[in-house]
Symmetry: C2
Subunit: 215 residues, 2 copies
């Protein structure tokens, strides 16, 4: 509650944090105890300078002449990212993508708990997918207000995407993980993170066609 306003950190830095985490986890898994910024840079394809610069936005985690303790650093970064918290989530739209996420992704490692999924299709309501109950989309608001939900995972069709997002915002959620291939408009107090499959595929096609051209 102390309204502690952190200094604004660039998106570039934030985007690298999960990559640091990934590598540190691998190092920890292979029992590597310590790593220097230079060593980390070599693995990740970054300069040692950039790594030290990145970390310095959040504090000091290393030791001169020694480097960083892998496990300690890993834990610090996880904490910086807020992964030590617990988040309650609901999933909107149990089409293929929604189902795939429920069945495939291990949300517990990220501290995210999926409490329920919502759909409008009568035949799905009342069933459950990977242990998650599918409820009537009309009950979203009541449910979220009663249960306190932080995150909505938006997997509805592109046409319903904005509407679903608005319902979720009305229901009090604070973050949307967006799989709808649609840009959502939300109030300032709501965070949106997009997975745009088609953008990614198009990028792949650009680099591929470029590669094919230049030979």
């Amino acid at each position: 509650m102390p309204s502690r306003k952190k200094k604004m950190i660039s998106d570039h830095v934030i985007t690298r944090l999960p990559a640091y985490l990934r590598v540190l986890n691998e190092l920890a898994a292979s029992d590597t105890e310590r790593i220097s910024s230079q060593g980390l840079g070599k693995i990740m394809g970054l300069t040692a300078s950039q790594i030290r610069q990145d970390f310095s936005y959040f504090g000091t985690f290393g030791q001169q002449g020694y480097g960083y303790q892998v496990v300690a650093l890993r834990n610090e970064i996880a904490k910086i990212m807020g992964l030590d918290r617990n988040y309650q989530a609901v999933l909107l739209g149990t089409g293929n993508i929604g189902q795939a996420l429920l069945e495939h992704l291990d949300f517990s490692v990220s501290g995210v708990h999926i409490k329920a999924a919502f759909d409008v299709r009568r035949e799905l309501i009342g069933t459950d997918i990977a242990g998650v109950p599918v409820l009537d989309a009309h009950d979203l608001m009541t449910y979220c207000q009663a249960e306190g939900v932080d995150i909505a995972i938006n997997c509805v069709s592109a046409e319903s995407a904005q509407r679903a997002a608005e319902h979720a915002v009305e229901a009090g959620i604070r973050a949307i993980w967006n799989f709808t291939n649609t840009v959502l408009t939300v109030p300032d107090h709501v965070v949106v993170e997009n997975i745009f499959f088609s953008d990614s595929l198009q990028r792949l096609e650009y680099y591929l066609s470029d590669m094919l051209d230049s030979e």
Copy 2:
């Protein structure tokens, strides 16, 4: 064959191209015939300057005093991205993510044709998913060499990810769309585009926790 080496264009620009395409498609769908860099900027949250700068890397598409023809510009950008070509793809690993992609994504709009899926699980081989035959992973090499495959969509488990990528590269594919949450190591002549679900979710958690802290 003309080995025409295009000038190197920054990743930032390439990443914006699909967004331009998305907006131009919407404008075209709503029968908007022309748009200025200023108008486009307003919709996309970019400066008019940046938009003109971006386009200028590829050529000149506008008209002074008028702006850009929406449909013509859309087509130009699609061409720049290589979306007018046809790509042959195979999908590796028919777990949930693989299945979801086969059933959910409309690849034809991107000029990508999924010819076959591959898996090691006996019980799946010989079946088909959304009209795509599931073949034995051991036949990948022979298949690709016979059929001429450009893209591998890597949906195997994290543990098999690097191995699957290497097989695909050996089999002559030139691009990997990577859903394995793993950094792949490939030769220079192969393009990799990643969809890292966990990176995205962690980013969401960072911004969410930040938001929750500052209130």
